[in-house]
Point group: none
Chain length 303, copies 2
DNA sequence: CCGTGACTGAAATTCAAGTTTCAAATGTTC
DNA sequence: GAACATTTGAAACTTGAATTTCAGTCACGG
C-alpha cells in the first residue's frame, strides 16, 4: 500500500459526481470524489487508500487506515468530518452496510425486486457457494489423507445412510467401486441391519452419511461399529453433536434459507474425496477401470 | 488473562475433529467447527451467525455481532476465548486478513504441501461454482414454472435414472414425496422396466435423470413415454443431443478436470426445483408435511 | 517581509467497545 | 431433592481507539 497519489485525477478537470442531494445516502466513495479536489495532502492520502480499496474499509480501524495511508489518526478523523460523517464509526458502518447489500437504499430497491426470478437464482447460488466454501474451510489435509488411506486399505467398505443420506451414500459407493471392490450400500432394500452388523470387522471401514434429520439407527450402528473396533468415517452436518465416537468426522454445510437442506456442498465434498481415492488407487485402480470397461463391452452396456 | 473458568471445555468428552496443532493458522470458521458440538446455547448463536456470514465478521464490532445473534457481548467474548484468540480484535483482524490471500500470517503458514492442497481445494471449488452458475444461466423461468406445474399436477411422477443418475433421481424423489404422493423411483431393485412402461399414461410425468454415460434404456424409456403421450422432463448434461423427444430438457453442467464428473450443479438444480415445488404445493403440501410429522411421531422415527 | 490562515501530527483527553465480575438461573448427577 | 457445575447477561471495570487540542510549519497574499 503506497499511500501516495496513485489516483491521478486532475483536480481542475474533474466534474464532481452528481450527488443525490441527501448526504446520508451517498456512498463513502461518492463523498470522497465530491471533495477530492480540495483535500489537503494528508487527507488525500487517506482518501486515496479508501478509493483504492473501497470494499475493505469497514474491516479496518481508523488507526489502521492511518498507518496504511502514511498519515495520522487526526487526518483520518478530519477527512471523515469533511465528508459529513459524525464519526469514523458512522462512516465505517455505512461503508459496511453498503458493501453487504444491507443498506436501507438497497433494501428498498430489493423489496421491489424480491419476486424476481434472477434474484431468487442469485440468492440460491450464493447459498450453495457459501456452503461449499465453508465445508472446505473445515477440511484438513492430514485427515483427508487418512480417510483416503482407510478407504483404499479397508477389506470392505460399508456405506451407510438413511433418507437423503442414503442417496449420497449410494452416489459415493458408485464412485468408489470404479476403483475398488467390496463396497456395499446399507441399508439394502427389504433387509434388516443386524445381519450386517455382525459382519463388521476392524479391518473394514464404515462410512456413515448422517445428515439431519438422523434416525436413531445411525448412532446405534456407529456405536456397534465402535465397539467392534471398526474405523468409522462420519460425514455429517454441523448440527451433529461431537463425532458420535467416529474415527473421523467431516462436517458439510447443508443449511440454507429454505425448508429443505441443500446438498451441493456434501456432493462437492464426496466428489473431492472420490477423486482423491482414485488418485491413491494408482495402478490397481486403473486396472479395475479398464476391466470394467471390458465388461461393459462384453455386456454391450452402452449400445 | 485469568479467563473464565466456568466456561472451560470439559476435557474428556470432546473429540477434536482434526488438530492442526498451530492455532494461528486455522481459520475462524475451522475453529468454530472444531468446537461447535460443545458450544453452549448463547455462544452457539454467535457461532452460527459467524458461520452464516464468514466473510463479513471483520466489518462488525463485537457489540454488533452480539446484537445480531441475539446474545450478549459477554457471549461473544467467551466464544472468542474458547477459539483460542486473545481478544476480539485479534479474531477480527485474523478474519479480515484471511479474506485477503496475501495476509502475512497466511503466507507464513504455507508450506509446499499445504499450498498444493489449498490450491487443489480452490480449483475444485471454482469448478463447482462455475458449473452451478452455468447451469442456472440456462434455466428459463417459464420452463421451470411449467415443470413445477407438471410435477404438482401429474397423477403419478416417475423418477428414472441409472448409475449416478439413479441416486440423484432418488434424492429428488425424496424431496418431492415430502409434499406429494405417488412418486416412484425406477428402476426398482430386482425388477425389470417393461412392467412400468405399460403403465405410463399421459397424465403422469416421467422425470429422467440422464447424465453421461447413459445406457440405451434411457433413450428407449423416453421414446416409449413419448409414444404414449407422457410428458417427459429430461435432466441431463450438455453432451446429450437435443432433448431426445422430451417435453422439457434441463442441462446441468457436470464437467470438470477430473476423471469423474461432478454433481454439485445437478444437486443444486434439484434443490432449487424441489423448493419451487414445495412453494407451489401450498396448503396441500403443508398438510402432507404435517401428516408426515405425525406419522414420524407415531413410528418414533427420530427417537 | 509580515500577517494570517491552513495544515500537520504528537500528545492529551474522551468515550464507548470489549473484558471481567458477580449473582441468579439453568442444567446435571447422585 | 440436594449438591454441584455450567451458563448467562447486566453491571462494573478496563483499555485503547477516536477525537480534540496545541504548537510548530507551511503557503499565500498584501
Amino acid at each position: 500500500m503506497t499511500g501516495n497519489n496513485r489516483t491521478s485525477i486532475p483536480p481542475g478537470n474533474r466534474r464532481p459526481v452528481q450527488g443525490k442531494g441527501n448526504p446520508g445516502t451517498r456512498s463513502l466513495q461518492a463523498r470522497i470524489q465530491e471533495h477530492y479536489a480540495v483535500l489537503p495532502g494528508s487527507e488525500r492520502k487517506v482518501a486515496d487508500l479508501i478509493l483504492d480499496f473501497p470494499g475493505e474499509v469497514a474491516a479496518y480501524s481508523a488507526t489502521e487506515l492511518a498507518g496504511l495511508a502514511g498519515a495520522s489518526k487526526a487526518a483520518v478523523t478530519r477527512l471523515i468530518r469533511r465528508l459529513d460523517y459524525a464519526s469514523f464509526e458512522e462512516a465505517r458502518r455505512a461503508a459496511r452496510d453498503a458493501q453487504t447489500w444491507g443498506s436501507p437504499v438497497y433494501l428498498l430497491s430489493k423489496d421491489a425486486d424480491r419476486g424476481a426470478f434472477d434474484t431468487r437464482v442469485q440468492k440460491h447460488i450464493e447459498q450453495d457457494m457459501r456452503n461449499i466454501t465453508r465445508t472446505f474451510d473445515g477440511i484438513e489435509e492430514d485427515t483427508l489423507e487418512k480417510i483416503v488411506d482407510a478407504i483404499i486399505g479397508a477389506r470392505r467398505v460399508w456405506l451407510f445412510g438413511y433418507r437423503n443420506s442414503h442417496y449420497l451414500a449410494g452416489y459415493l459407493r458408485w464412485q468408489l467401486i470404479q476403483v475398488r471392490g467390496d463396497v456395499h450400500l446399507l441399508p439394502a432394500p427389504g433387509e434388516t441391519l443386524a445381519e450386517y452388523m455382525t459382519e463388521l470387522r476392524s479391518d473394514d471401514l464404515l462410512v456413515v452419511l448422517g445428515f439431519r434429520r438422523r434416525i436413531p439407527d445411525v448412532k446405534r450402528a456407529m456405536d456397534i461399529a465402535g465397539d467392534a473396533g471398526v474405523p468409522v468415517l462420519f460425514i455429517t452436518d454441523p448440527t451433529a453433536r461431537q463425532g458420535s465416537g467416529a474415527t473421523w468426522t467431516v462436517r458439510c454445510e447443508v443449511r440454507g434459507e429454505d425448508l429443505f437442506d441443500r446438498y451441493s456442498a456434501p456432493m462437492s465434498f464426496l466428489h473431492f474425496l472420490s477423486v482423491a481415492v482414485v488418485a491413491r488407487a494408482g495402478a490397481a485402480g486403473r486396472r479395475r477401470l479398464a476391466l470394467i470397461e471390458d465388461r461393459h463391452e462384453d455386456l454391450d452396456a452402452f449400445g
